[in-house]
């Protein structure tokens, strides 16, 4: 069913997704969106891992994806907790306003 698709296409697809995520991190000011873009990057990695896993006919790639998911969930939980705390204090999540630490 997957015959006829070169791994190259998957590589390309995940790279493009990864880069889109990276651009998002750079181009947006909204902390939550930045965070979401990071999730997008992780998903690009997941896709890549799964495709490689299929390529090698080896389950470990897919298992690795589970760990990435677990970590992503943990990171998001912590991250959003921190974000909402910031929002409580600053009433904004604009990254440009978060510059109290510059001398």
């Amino acid at each position: 069913m997957i015959n006829g698709i070169s791994i190259n296409y998957y590589l390309l697809l995940s790279t493009v997704l990864f880069i889109i995520g990276a651009i998002g991190v750079m181009a947006r000011r909204n902390s939550i969106i930045i965070f979401m873009c990071i999730e997008l990057m992780l998903n690009a990695v997941n896709l890549l891992l799964v495709s490689f896993s299929t390529l090698h006919n080896d389950s470990s790639g897919q298992v690795f994806v589970f760990f990435i998911m677990a970590v992503a969930a943990a990171e998001v939980a912590v991250g959003l907790a921190i974000l909402s705390m910031i929002y409580r204090n600053v009433k904004s999540i604009d990254t440009d306003l978060l510059s109290n630490l510059k001398n």
């Binding site: 069913m1 493009v16 939980a77």
Partner: protein
């Protein structure tokens, strides 16, 4: 159809959608829309997983990302009541710089990804690795330690999130 197999068509459509939706995530002005686009991107990616016969992963992907993580995002965005009006915008210059930087990175990466053409994905029939049973066997034998230690990770995240989230008791 036009010399492509159904799989290739599906692949193409899913990929196109995924990329378009991912772009929408980045460029949508409304955070809620961004979340929804991202959810849809995840669905496309789940579609790819199905295409590669990673059914279990596909559904777990939906449950974890779309069902839990993105709901949390939506939750926070809604609680903060963010919408287009409150959305801060970077200057065009920054955006262009980000775009150019990203484009260059893409260029470099794509350029360096040459040489993988000859690697074809193995055939569908033989590939049963995505099934729950196989995954479970690998997870609980080879990857037992990471699996166990991931509990520490989740515990830490749990404790951390609660500690940060709860109100300071005076």
């Amino acid at each position: 159809m036009l010399g492509y197999t159904i799989t290739q068509w599906i692949f193409g459509i899913l990929s196109f959608l995924a990329i378009m939706l991912a772009l929408m995530v980045v460029f949508s002005r409304n955070p809620v829309n961004s979340v929804l686009y991202l959810v849809m991107t995840f669905f496309c990616i789940a579609g790819h997983y199905l295409l590669m016969n990673a059914q279990f992963l596909a559904i777990v992907h939906i449950v974890v990302y779309a069902g839990a993580i993105m709901v949390l995002f939506l939750f926070v965005i809604m609680l903060m009541n963010l919408n287009e009006d409150t959305e801060p915008q970077r200057t065009w210059l920054t955006k262009i710089i980000a775009g150019v930087a990203g484009g260059m990175l893409l260029f470099v990466l794509v350029g360096s990804l040459k040489g993988a053409e000859q690697m074809q994905l193995s055939s569908y029939g033989a590939s049963q690795i995505g099934l729950v049973k196989n995954l479970g066997k690998v997870l609980f034998s080879e990857f037992l330690f990471p699996f166990e230690i991931a509990s520490i990770l989740l515990l830490a995240a749990l404790v951390g999130a609660i500690m940060i989230g709860k109100k300071e008791i005076k």
